[in-house]
Amino acid sequence: MTSLAVNDHQAETAAPAKVIQPVWVRIVHWTNAFAMILMIMSGWQIYNASPLFGFTFSRSITLGGWLGGALLWHFAAMWLLMVNGLTYLALGFATGRFRKKLLPITPGGVIADTKAALTFKLSHDDLSKYNSVQKLLYAGIITVGVVIVLSGLSMWKPVQLHWLVALFGGYDFARYVHFTCMALIVVFLVIHVALALLVPKSLRAMLIGR
């Protein structure tokens, strides 16, 4: 995945032979996409049972049909999400991918690359290297992913994991944390998909590796 592009054609001629997305990244990426969508859609149905804000989600975009069905989906998909997420984190650290791809993130780099992106001057010649904005967004969304799982666990087991609930400022506050993380993930998802469509070779890399 990458961000805004105008000069894609420059990279086309370079014909990248090396693997941009190793097979394990592609597997966990699409597994995560599947699990995340199940979690979000069933989560919206659960939200509807006791809305935090003055709106509910249309039933046409929720999963489970009613609260009980949605909870079954949510507490089933959570295993897929967690096992897959832990695999991703473990391999990300073990293979050095996080270090190589996501670090360093410097304020200067982020500002310069944001400017470049907004003026359509950001280069995508080498998809194996993330620009600073990408680094920040990916590191950020990984953090959000960790927080949404932890806040979810705290709401699932507020007695057994009472220390975790306390960490989130109590049960009621944990619900807002969980919701906010969902909203951030949805915003990320929209941008992520839009940019993948703008730079199709990044989508290809996530599908076939190169």
């Binding site: 659960i46 939200y47 049972a49 006791s50 039933r59 046409s60 929720t62 999963l63 489970g64 049909g65 009613w66 609260l67 009980g68 069905g69 909870l71 079954l72 989906w73 507490f75 089933a76 295993w79 709401m155 699932w156 087991k157 507020p158 007695v159 057994q160 009472h162 609930v165 049960y171 009621d172 619900r175």
Partner: protein, 261 residues
């Protein structure tokens, strides 16, 4: 369990859907809605019922829910206490919550009521309210967490269930204490023995230092702060110590059976 199957997919279980829909309506509309006799076909249309045919998905979800029961039993620490709160944090008014309106809540005459004790116990005598009131009582201020997501802090006073189970000579190696209640449509619910023996699990006779009002389950509710609200029986008629899983009102409709918090 063809019944569960219908519940997983939008629009298929008419009864529950109707109940859900009705709950979200303003009081007046709700009444009219019910009396008018809704077209269930229209309701199905509204919800769009063909996401996935999920007899296989449903089987899988049921299995995962059973697996989650096991995981929660494994996670359950009999010594972990639910957080308690100062009385100043009690939610006022504490919400009435049920699958029916307050008007339809059971009206039980305390003088005629007796708690029936059945199953694997030495002493199967029934208990009057006066007899129960004489047992030592403890107060707890804990958080009631609803399966819907909301929560409220309340003050409950009563006898620890484990003391009562000891008193009647219950076989505490049995799997469940199963409660049958007076709610319309026959609410009942199984409570796993380890949760039943948890120090905070209580036969509740008072709310906020007053005799339990009808809204909160007079004459007796079972307060289980380590479980979601729907596993806290109100208007209790009988308890049965048993090794059999007898199902429950909400559990049979698809809510996770352990539902520990």
């Amino acid at each position: 369990m063809g019944r569960l199957r219908k519940l997983l997919i939008p629009g298929v279980d008419k009864k529950l859907l109707l109940r859900d829909a009705v709950k979200t309506m303003p009081e007046l509309t709700r009444r009219r809605f019910i009396t008018a006799g809704t077209s269930l076909g229209a309701l199905t249309l509204l919800t769009g019922c063909d996401v996935v045919d999920s007899s296989s998905a449903e089987e899988l979800l049921k299995k995962v829910s059973k697996f989650n029961d096991a995981v929660q039993a494994w996670m359950f620490n009999p010594d972990a206490l639910a957080p308690t709160f100062p009385e100043s944090m009690i939610t006022k008014p504490f919400p009435f919550n049920a699958y029916y309106d307050l008007d339809d809540a059971p009206e039980i005459a305390g003088a005629d009521w007796k708690l029936e004790v059945r199953g694997l116990v030495d002493n199967k005598k029934s208990w009057t309210l006066d007899e129960l009131y004489k047992l030592p009582q403890v107060k707890q201020v804990t958080r009631h967490i609803c399966v819907e997501g909301w929560s409220a802090i309340g003050s409950w006073t009563g006898t620890p269930l484990r003391d009562f189970l000891k008193l009647v000579g219950a076989d505490t190696r049995a799997n469940y204490v199963w409660f049958q209640c007076a709610d319309k449509d026959g609410y009942n619910s199984p409570l796993d023995m380890r949760s039943a023996l948890h120090p905070q699990t209580q036969m509740t006779f008072k709310f906020a230092d007053q005799i339990l009002p009808r809204a909160y389950g007079f004459p007796m509710k079972i307060r289980v702060p380590t479980k979601l609200g729907f596993k806290n029986p109100k208007y209790v008629l009988s308890m049965e110590v048993t090794n059999d899983y007898k199902g429950g009102y909400w559990e049979d409709q698809g809510y996770n059976s352990f539902s520990g918090s």
